[in-house]
């Protein structure tokens, strides 16, 4: 029986047999995936490819930017006047608050200096705009127009005018990918402004909702509580608003059902701030802690565990 070949490339110079070629490329793909996912080894390849890709991303972003520019420069006079008036009023109010804050900041710095802990306050910021590019409909990621060339680094905190926005997940030469706090893979340590309860806010995949899965029934959280970043983990600066508790349901026996609404405008922001700050020092350095434990052992007692039961379970 005669069988037709499926390989219809030219006979001369056709390269390796089709199946062998396929298997080689497939093996390379699997190798790349493993290297990327497990060992984070191929950032250089990704960066080289991203240079080729960059003009495409710019091309997609360009029409939106151009429309913005055109509507901005041909806006009618009365609207501009109105906008100007509103902005002036806001500026006056903000300045008024700022005067009070200057005093408070000075006081805060003095107090922190007394505790020899001035860390966790944003020191340098860089404004970055979000490129109008869709990455994946099922993950909350955005692309910024600043990258390694501007000093952006992995895990850098990203804020907008109203609160914490996310953190940098990938850095390319001139762009950076940011994972939003609402992404299902993101979690951030928070603290209630009112009661001081510490917990973790986890993204849900819904841009208007964070979930707080590790809150016990008896912990002091109410609807309307403002959740601030704690600065633990060293990724985010401390004391910035993250979310406002929107729902507390104490139904189960151990954990309450708590939801919060992010204060940052995750779906509307066009421009965000990249933040540099000094990571907070470890409150109890390892050496000192070991000594305390040893002292406690010498005294014939077990050192008290610091972990509350709420953090231990929950999965």
């Amino acid at each position: 029986m005669v069988e037709l070949s499926h390989d219809s490339r030219p006979i001369i110079g056709r390269g390796p047999p089709l199946t062998a070629y396929f298997l080689t490329l497939a093996a390379i793909s699997v190798g790349l995936m493993t290297a990327d996912h497990r060992y984070h080894q191929i950032d250089r390849i990704r960066e080289a490819l991203s240079r080729v890709i960059y003009p495409m991303q710019r091309a997609v972003d360009f029409p939106f930017r151009a429309t913005d520019w055109v509507t901005g420069s041909f806006a009618d006079r009365s609207r501009l006047r109105q906008e100007n008036l509103a902005l002036t009023t806001r500026l006056r109010l903000a300045n008024l608050q700022l005067q009070r804050f200057a005093v408070l900041e000075e006081e805060n710095r003095r107090l922190r200096e007394m505790r020899a802990n001035s860390a966790g306050i944003a020191e340098k910021v860089l404004v970055a705009s979000i490129l109008n590019v869709d990455l994946d409909p099922f993950r909350h990621r955005v692309l910024l127009d600043k990258g390694a060339a501007d000093g952006v680094f992995k895990d850098q905190a990203v804020l907008d005018g109203d609160g914490i926005f996310g953190q940098v997940s990938k850095v390319n030469a001139s762009t950076a990918e940011v994972i939003l706090i609402s992404d299902a893979e993101h979690a951030i340590p928070v603290q209630s402004n009112r009661s001081g309860v510490r917990t973790i806010a986890v993204g849900t995949g819904d841009q208007h909702k964070l979930s707080l899965p590790f809150v016990t029934v008896e912990s002091d959280l109410q609807t309307g509580d403002l959740l601030l970043s704690t600065g633990m983990g060293g990724v985010f600066p401390a004391g910035y608003p993250v979310a406002q508790v929107s729902k507390v349901k104490r139904a189960g026996s151990t954990f309450a059902l708590v939801e919060a609404k992010p204060t940052a405008r995750l779906d509307q922001a066009r421009e965000v701030l990249l933040v540099w700050f000094k990571p907070p020092a470890d409150p109890a350095p390892a050496g000192r802690r070991r000594r305390t434990i040893r002292a406690a052992r010498c005294a014939g007692r077990q050192p008290a565990t610091a972990t509350p039961p709420a953090q231990a379970g929950g999965e």
């Binding site: 037709l4 499926h6 390989d7 219809s8 490339r9 030219p10 390269g15 089709l18 199946t19 070629y21 396929f22 490329l25 497939a26 390379i28 793909s29 699997v30 190798g31 790349l32 995936m33 290297a35 990327d36 996912h37 191929i42 390849i45 990704r46 490819l49 991203s50 080729v52 890709i53 495409m56 991303q57 091309a59 997609v60 939106f64 109008n132 590019v133 869709d134 990455l135 994946d136 409909p137 099922f138 993950r139 990621r141 692309l143 997940s169 990938k170 990918e177 893979e185 995949g205």
Partner: protein
């Protein structure tokens, strides 16, 4: 020949650009994989020029564009390209509707692979919405063929 090659690279770039153009929220999950459809079309009509390397490379660029694990879309494109290559003698004989059905199967396989790798790397999203591009892609296939035919006729 050169014009034909240029056309392939340009349509690859166009497919990739259309993969990241912002769409209104409800339309975003339906977005068909135009880069993949273009690749299938070219492998089908001119397997001598558009081969597996072409398929693999367009997948790799898509990975970088979307910030996925490097190699994920590349593997998907490669598998679809290989199967198309194997099936092309038969597929070229098929009427357009039957072709669209085969394309739907290929797209389904592709999205299953993506789903699987997503699960392995921990990005699993399990909603049924995920499978909409399979349908939209198959529905768009006749249009892709019409557009591709008119373009290649002009360039050759």
């Amino acid at each position: 020949m050169f014009a034909r090659r240029l056309l392939y690279w340009i349509s690859m770039a166009a497919g990739l650009v259309l993969a990241i153009v912002p769409l209104p929220g409800w339309l975003d999950p339906v977005r068909p994989d135009l880069a993949l459809l273009a690749m299938i079309y070219f492998v089908l009509t001119s397997p001598r020029i558009a081969g597996l390397g072409y398929a693999w490379l367009s997948g790799l660029f898509l990975d970088v564009l979307r910030g996925m694990v490097l190699g994920q879309h590349a593997l998907g494109f490669l598998v679809v390209g290989y199967l198309t290559h194997k099936l092309q003698l038969r597929m070229r004989m098929f009427p357009i509707v039957q072709q669209a059905v085969i394309v739907m199967l290929l797209l389904g396989l592709y999205h299953f692979l993506m789903f699987w790798i997503d699960g392995l790397t921990g990005h699993g999203f399990t909603g049924w919405v995920r499978w909409l591009p399979v349908l939209s892609g198959a529905l768009l296939w006749p249009l892709v063929v019409a557009l591709g035919d008119s373009l290649t006729r002009r360039s050759s």
